[in-house]
Symmetry: C2
């Protein structure tokens, strides 16, 4: 993703601390372009403090007077909105908005995500300057999200889209040892069974479902070679002790 293809626009932010938290949330997810429409106070100490290591995002932030100036160079403008506006507008959740944004950015378009005031969001007039509205599906018990949290969710979705090709959906995709082969597993089960007989835990005359249960247990694990060596070592040691 071209870092500056997507910008975050904050309209009339009251608390500079929120601007700082937004800068950090952006940089954590690889966004760098921040535009501020008539913030109440900026620059401000609290903003730098909350930005922690993202003060560069604050320093390069563009400060303008109107939303129109902030989004003037953008081909896709997405405004965050609570539901239930008088005139319905095209509205999507953060995931689908992120999809649209990255698709547009991939076509060399500039995209703005616009966030409103802490207490009452964007006005209808501002929302009507947007191509698309974004709605975060909060729970009905408490729908008012902190501003920086809303930006964090959107920035996270953009990042997930940008890196989705790299993200494994298999929890064990990154492993340090090669996995055991089926043949090695069979050797292990044989060794295990023999040992269980030797210690008197398994009666070959009445084996019941013991070995199938142990196969199901170890089979689910997908043991790696080092783990296999450890388990085999335990069996070998156990046998030595018993036989002496």
């Amino acid at each position: 993703m071209n870092k500056s293809a997507i910008c975050i626009v904050l309209v009339n932010t009251s608390h500079p601390g929120n601007i700082g938290a937004v800068a950090r949330a952006m940089k954590n997810m690889g966004l760098v372009e921040l535009r501020l429409v008539a913030p109440a106070r900026f620059p401000a100490e609290e903003a730098n403090w909350r930005a922690v290591a993202a003060s560069d995002v604050l320093e390069s932030a563009l400060v303008v007077d109107t939303l129109a100036e902030a989004i003037g160079d953008c081909q896709l403008v997405i405004g965050t909105s609570a539901r239930g506006r008088r005139i319905p507008w095209p509205v999507l959740d953060p995931r689908h908005c992120a999809e649209q944004a990255l698709r547009a950015a991939g076509r060399e378009q500039r995209v703005a995500f616009v966030f409103g005031r802490e207490d009452r969001g964007l006005t209808n007039e501002e929302l009507q300057q947007c191509n698309l509205h974004l709605h975060i599906p909060t729970h009905e018990d408490y729908t008012s999200l902190n501003l920086a949290m809303a930006v964090q969710i959107v920035a996270y979705e953009l990042r997930m889209q940008a890196v989705s090709a790299e993200l494994p959906d298999d929890a064990c995709a990154h492993w340090d040892e090669p996995l055991s082969t089926a043949a090695a597993m069979e050797h292990y089960y044989k060794h295990l069974e023999q040992t269980l007989i030797e210690i008197g835990f398994l009666d070959p005359a009445a084996p019941r479902q013991l070995m199938p249960r142990l196969r199901r247990l170890y089979g689910r694990l997908r043991l790696d070679e080092m783990e296999m060596n450890i388990l085999r070592g335990i069996l070998t040691e156990t046998q030595k002790r018993i036989r002496t």
Copy 2:
């Protein structure tokens, strides 16, 4: 989703303000069960202040001394982790972890998401008490997420999973007027063409690609019936003016 099937566990949180921000992030996404392992200061004024309307989550929070106590009743324990631990553990992004969590909760299992200290996360020993590790794919320029932001992302993913069946992937899924039929569109194009000829903008002898371009434009819009009436009204008025 059964609200209390999934709990958020914070280990050794230094700043009570972060605990409050976590409570708000949780309630915004429909989570209510918070467990605190040896917080530096709690209860605390800053926690209530940052929780805003989620002070009920703080009031019902369980405070315990050890991680083992916090997760004792859980069947699935997911610990947040930066990458690159010495021993690789099963690791997934927030989306896939949320999937697993809701699947487990659907089978009446209790699930814990465990978050570590602000400055250094969870220890290796704590991570080894988890079934699965969660990694948020931050950008390499700035990987250190604020604690409450990390909780917000996870809570958001849980909420997205929980409501995914209800969420429209069509931006215009909720609309107030029925859409125009193809026949109504054809009447409109005919009316438009006639009007453009009357105002002298379209030369029937050399129409070029004007009408196809206008068809492409209005066709993409998927006009509703009220919008259609407005456009037809404009054409009718225009014709009246010209003909007088």
